[in-house]
């Protein structure tokens, strides 16, 4: 059993790593990069939103802070985004402390709406930072051609591998947490905070800690994203869509599971890209209508996420075999 699993993992990893060497179509690779990126954000969100059930709809705050930190360092000081990406993560962690202090006193919908407000306030503040951070106009990144040391790559393969590494990192962290005491504590807090505290779970602290990790990872995604689309402005960096997408992929795939956000992204991103390319040139509104219908169907039909179907099937097959 174990060897087969190992072989399967090694095989899957090989395929994933070798993919850009085989797939030369830039659009296909772009979809792959988007899948990896949003799966990464989803996994980061899921640590907090899925395991600890703290429904954040403001993760764009960290995405944006990461994006702006590395871009400011790059353009103002010429510091490589490889350093900027870590700096952005640290800034996001520091900012998550006061946000967490404020928002974690709230539960359920209060928490969700407070996090929306925080992300919005940050966006509005960056709109006001006209001299320091280019205000609403935003800025494009300097075109350095193929400069891997500055996180700019000639083709798409470089971006693909970077996104793959990020996703692998987030999955490894989640895997470790899930199997440790912290995973148990997170789920317990998510299920029933009072009952968890009754058996000694320091709920405020565990929430703060997982928020730190989640914020750090989300900020990494922000830097990657800006490097990839070459442009930053407050509306992009602090977009409500990022917050929603992070939660949606997890919910569609299955919250509080290791692979849920990945599965959710694999289903949603290409779907939306395909809808976009097949219906996008027609009359406006069709593809988002279809997208919304798909979402509603999934939520009504499988509120615990689609991963359940696969694990159920897997168990059924395993039992039979």
């Amino acid at each position: 059993m174990v060897p087969i699993k190992t072989i399967a993992i090694v095989l899957a990893a090989t395929i994933l790593i070798a993919l850009p060497l085989v797939v030369k179509n830039a659009f296909a690779l772009d979809i792959c990069i988007r899948v990896l990126l949003f799966a990464f954000i989803g996994v980061a969100w899921n640590l907090m939103g899925g395991y600890a059930k703290q429904l954040s709809l403001g993760h764009a705050a960290f995405f944006g802070l990461g994006a702006y930190t590395s871009t400011l360092l790059l353009i103002r000081l010429g510091i490589s985004p490889w350093i900027g990406i870590v700096a952005g993560g640290v800034v996001a962690m520091l900012v998550s402390l006061p946000i967490g202090w404020l928002c974690f006193r709230l539960r359920g919908p209060y928490f969700a709406i407070a996090t929306i407000a925080v992300a919005q306030v940050l966006m509005l503040l960056f709109l006001k930072l006209r001299d320091f951070a280019w205000g609403a106009e935003g800025t494009t990144l300097p075109n350095l051609g193929n400069a891997p040391l500055m996180m700019q790559f000639g083709g798409k393969a470089g971006y693909y591998w970077l996104a793959l590494v990020l996703l692998a990192l987030a999955l490894a962290i989640t895997y470790r947490i899930e199997r440790s005491w912290m995973g148990y504590y997170l789920v317990a807090v998510g299920e029933d905070e009072d009952a968890a505290e009754a058996i000694g779970v320091n709920a405020p602290r565990i929430k703060r800690d997982v928020y730190l990790i989640s914020a750090f990872l989300t900020a990494l995604a922000g830097t990657f994203y800006v490097q990839y689309i070459y442009f930053i402005d407050p509306n992009t960096a602090f977009s409500f869509n990022v917050s929603v997408e992070a939660a949606l992929v997890s919910i569609v795939g299955g919250i509080g599971t290791l692979w849920g956000p990945v599965l959710g992204t694999i289903l949603l991103e290409p779907t939306s890209a395909l809808l976009q390319s097949t219906l996008g040139s027609g009359r406006g509104g069709v593809q988002l209508t279809v997208y919304a219908l798909i979402l509603m169907a999934v939520i009504l039909w499988r509120p615990t996420g689609l991963l359940g179907i696969f694990t159920d099937t897997y168990q059924r097959i395993a039992r039979r075999g």
């Binding site: 440790s180 504590y185 789920v187 009952a195 968890a196 009754a198 058996i199 000694g200 320091n202 709920a203």
Partner: protein, 248 residues
Amino acid sequence: MAEALVVRGVSKRFGGLRAVADFSFSVNEGETVALIGPNGAGKTTSFNLITGYYRPDAGSITAFGRELVGLPPYEICTLGLARTFQVARPFGQMTVLANVMTGAFLRDRRPHIARERAREAIRFVGLADKENALAADLTTIDERRLEMARALATEPKLLLLDEVMAGLNPSEIDQAVGLVGQLAQRGLTIVIVEHVMRAIMAVARHIVVLDHGQKIAEGTPRTVVGNPEVIRAYLGTGYAHPHPHATD
């Protein structure tokens, strides 16, 4: 004998409602004390005050010599006080084993140790065959067992049980009484809130009676049951004979 828990002059108001007023009692180490009283007497509120879910407006609560007022619930648990809830609150999406392991992690963060200790607690409450069941699928009595196992896994010195027998049938009550008795034999200090008088008589040597947030009587089971104040509180004035069993 050393005092495990001392509640002194504790009061709590909710808006206009006086939930607990100037309440004092104490529990010696290794003793089992029952807290009884009609619905709304302030029993569960007292538990919530002791375990840090509410902060008293006045008074002090000490356990094993430490002041508890102002401490959050998880720190109180770390000091060795574990509780169950009136309505069991299992982590529904976790298995029985995972539920109890979560409690065991308080004393040891290594999963294999926690698993071992959790299994011990599960065996003790008689849930061993349902170790891998989802907590949400348990029956009422099994939920209570689970909650007790989870509390025990935190290795408490003082256990506060909130109506663990409500809604159980007579044979289940006997089982539960047996469990509590075993725990007491192990030297655990127990405070139990209960309506089922038969059970109280069987486990508690000392009873504290609350009514409208105030302590109206205290003593051995026999003296308390005969106390006219207590009878009036339970049945209203005019009733001559004590008939506590009907008060559930």
